[in-house]
């Protein structure tokens, strides 16, 4: 920091009292608010939505003065307070308003707090309203619940960052937009949230913008998401064109009534679903728009946990599930969703095998698990997709925060080849990490086991022709998941320490403010599977036959066998015979190369962007079309004018009598015309 007279250095004498002041002030505010809200229960969802926005506003307007009072911890406490209060109020409103028994249409919140006519252009009318039904309730709980934990964790993780205030203001803004996305009662309002979280994702990936790779990753995420957003906009327009409404409940009602008169609208519905799915692909990192997510790991690790694992990237799954009545009318769209999901799951799992950066393994794992969720939606088991979203939010946030704790302990080291043997040094992180790994691998009776089992059962129950293939592939992915996650765990925490001694000497366990969220998430990763999410959210889908999984006993046995096989193989390769990975690598060099190149998507896009667009623009459009045609035409017009003027100007002699002669000639000509020609 430069010495700036307008920004005095934080006062060093005495303890920083701002966090305490903020906390006390917030509590007082809360007591008043609760007293008021008791009489206005309908206002609570709006408060849930607007609290993080309030946090953002305060932090961005008064952030500098908060920082000047101390170290900025007050700002962090404020950000945590807003999100945690949102969570508490969300729980309260869901319990009090009995959302879960409100039926398929849920509760719509309009007057008098919102519900103004937002856009009105002819028949296109959009009310700004919120929709709280079973599906959005679950999402709100995930966003605010996991969000709160990650906010708390960030207090420790970002403790030494000078830009803490900016970080927490972005985090609050993200929470607001994410809540708007899940609570928005119509597609345009959802789109506002959708774009808002994209913006916050960009801002937070590029949070350390002095680092070129971080700035580039932010831009990449933003641009790739724009491709998807174009699909979302077109899908919204086509939905309005077909159904005459963009309201989510009305859309579902219209779609259900259309289902009766079969055929008729199949074409437009398929087109709408596919266009919306393009949007989902962008946001949820599905092939071919998955390339931004691994690079997004340049952001601070809590951001990776919150935005790029637990909440924002699941927005696509949420959107598909939200429009389940529509998607279930188009077999083609469902097939595309299922196949793209499965392919993405395979891609993520295989690329994760060869990654050496701890966060990138987790990133590809996220890509893979998102593919799993789309597979569930694609086979018609939308509730199961949301179930996996729910459990994944716990264990993936846990794994990311755990990896953050490891990185924190090693002073910024992310390369697994320079880790090892850390379990004794950071036991709490290790313990929670084991729980997370077991949960994602599908060890029986943990969260991931139940949701993954439900997806496999749903796939098996599907009447789709390719369902058996998808089932086998999904099972293989489950095995790979267990394998690469065990590899991550073993390379990081077991074996000898492989980093440099300097870093090794300073390994330290993270402060309690980081460990408590880890512990809470670990509990969630254990018990999350017992929440009956598919049953809770199923009314929102209005489907007669929700892929009812017939619980054959062999399926969970098979799934856990796959998981255990993966783990056993990883233990054998990375603990027992540690020379084996190298030999396999040497033996399968071409395949490994393909995986290391991430199947060449980046190369392909680089080729398209750098070769086709940049070179094409330069050589064809600029040097060809622009210079030779457009510029040439303009220059020719100019040259012609100059030439003609060069001849014409000789008329201007400067001699008065010459002008007089011209006037006379003109007058004579005019008079002759008037006299004789008329």
């Amino acid at each position: 920091m430069m010495a700036d007279p307008t920004h005095p250095e934080p006062r060093s004498q005495g303890p920083d009292r701002t966090p305490g002041i903020v906390a006390v002030g917030w509590t007082l505010l809360l007591v008043v608010a609760v007293a008021v809200l008791r009489d206005h229960p309908d206002a609570v969802p709006f408060i849930v939505l607007l609290l993080p926005l309030l946090g953002f506003t305060v932090l961005s307007l008064f952030g500098d003065s908060i920082r000047d009072q101390g170290e900025g911890t007050g700002a962090a406490v404020l950000a945590c307070c807003t999100v945690m209060t949102s969570f508490v109020l969300a729980v309260a409103s869901i319990l009090h308003l009995r959302t879960f028994t409100a039926g398929p249409s849920g509760l719509r919140f309009t007057q008098p707090y919102l519900g103004f006519e937002w856009m009105a252009a002819g028949p296109f009318r959009v009310q700004a309203n919120l929709l709280l039904d079973n599906l959005s309730s679950v999402m709100v709980l995930v966003v605010t619940g996991v969000g709160s934990l990650i906010h708390v964790y960030s207090v420790g993780y970002m403790a030494h960052d000078a830009e803490k205030v900016r970080y927490f203001s972005y985090l609050n803004l993200f929470t607001f937009f994410m809540l708007l996305l899940v609570l928005g009662g119509n597609l345009p309002l959802m789109f506002v949230g959708w774009e808002g979280v994209g913006l916050c994702s960009y801002l937070l990936i590029g949070f350390w913008y002095e680092k070129k790779s971080a700035a580039d990753a932010g831009k990449k995420a933003f641009i790739v998401n724009r491709v998807g957003d174009a699909g979302l906009i077109l899908g919204t327009i086509l939905a309005f064109h077909t159904f005459g409404t963009v309201d989510l409940v009305d859309l579902a009602t219209n779609a259900t009534s259309l289902a009766a008169e079969a055929g008729g609208h199949a074409g437009p519905i398929t087109a709408i679903c596919l266009l919306l799915f393009v949007g989902a692909c962008g946001k949820s990192a599905q092939i071919p728009l998955h390339v931004w997510l691994p690079d997004a790991m340049e952001g601070p690790t809590p951001v990776s946990a919150l935005i790029h694992a637990a909440t924002m990237v699941t927005a696509g799954v949420y959107m598909v599930a939200r429009l389940a009545p529509l998607f279930s009318l188009s077999a083609t769209a469902l097939l595309v969703v299922a196949v793209v999901g499965t392919l993405t799951a395979v891609l993520g799992a295989t690329v994760a095998l060869v990654q050496t950066d701890i966060k990138r393994v987790l990133a590809y794992s996220t890509v893979s698990q998102l593919g799993y969720m789309f597979l569930a939606c694609g086979v018609g088991a939308f509730g199961v997709g949301i179930f996996h979203l729910f459990t994944h939010a716990f264990f993936k946030a846990l794994l990311f925060l755990g990896s953050g704790s490891v990185i924190h302990a090693l002073g910024g080291e992310q390369d697994m080849r320079k880790m090892g043997g850390l379990w004794r040094r950071i036991p709490w992180t290790f313990g929670t990490f084991v729980v997370g790994t077991a949960a994602i691998a599908g060890i029986p009776f943990l969260a991931g086991f139940y949701s993954k089992d439900a997806i496999l059962a749903g796939t098996l129950a599907s009447k789709m022709a390719v369902a058996p293939v998808l089932f086998v592939v999904a099972l293989a992915v489950a095995l790979l998941t267990a394998f690469y996650m065990s590899r991550l765990l073993l390379l990081t925490f077991f074996g000898p320490y492989r980093g440099d001694a300097e870093t090794g000497a300073h390994v330290h366990e993270s402060p309690w403010v980081m460990l408590v969220p880890l512990a809470v998430l670990a509990v969630g990763s254990v018990v999350g599977g017992y929440a009956a999410i598919p049953e809770i959210v199923s009314p929102s889908f209005r489907l007669e036959t929700e892929g009812e999984a017939h619980h054959a006993l062999w399926l969970p046995v098979l799934a856990s066998a796959a998981a255990l096989t993966g783990i056993a193989a990883a233990i054998y390769m990375f603990l027992v015979r540690t020379e084996l990975p190298q030999r396999i690598y040497a033996r399968t060099r071409p395949l490994a190369r393909v995986l290391e190149a991430k199947y060449g998507f980046d190369l392909l896009y680089d080729w398209i962007a750098a070769r086709l667009i940049v070179q094409g623009s330069r050589d064809v459009l600029w040097r060809g079309l622009d210079v030779r045609v457009i510029d040439a035409a303009v220059n020719a017009a100019g040259a012609l004018t100059a030439l003609a003027a060069g001849r014409l100007r000789l008329v201007q002699t400067g001699l008065v009598r010459a002008y007089a002669l011209l006037i006379l000639g003109g007058a004579v000509a005019l008079l002759s015309y008037l006299l004789w020609m008329r």
Binding site: L650, Q652, T653, G654, L655, V656, R657, A660
Partner: protein
């Protein structure tokens, strides 16, 4: 007024105008050219007065007053310009004044 009289007046006007035109084109002295312009103006004045008398209206005569006023102003400005140019160029030859060109 009889038709012949207006014809005579118009013929005289035409003759005066023609003399003025010829003078503008043939004479080189700028003062002479200037006087020829005045002659053309007065030829037009004569035509105005003749028509005015012929039709029994006063419009033509009013116009003559305007022309006279403008001619007086023009004479003042024109002679001032001629003096200024003469001071710079030391000549009154119209063909020497050709600076205002491309």
């Amino acid at each position: 007024m009889s038709a012949t009289l207006i014809q005579h007046a118009l013929l005289l006007s035409l003759a005066l105008f023609a003399i003025g035109v010829v003078g503008v084109f043939l004479r080189r002295n700028v003062i002479t050219v200037f006087m020829c312009v005045e002659l053309m103006l007065n030829a037009v004045n004569l035509a105005f007065v003749a028509f005015s008398r012929s039709w029994g209206t006063l419009d033509g005569q009013v116009l003559v007053f305007f022309v006279l006023t403008v001619a007086a102003a023009e004479a003042a400005v024109g002679l001032a310009i001629i003096i200024a140019v003469h001071r710079n160029k030391d000549t009154l030859d119209v063909d020497a004044f050709d600076l205002m060109k491309w």
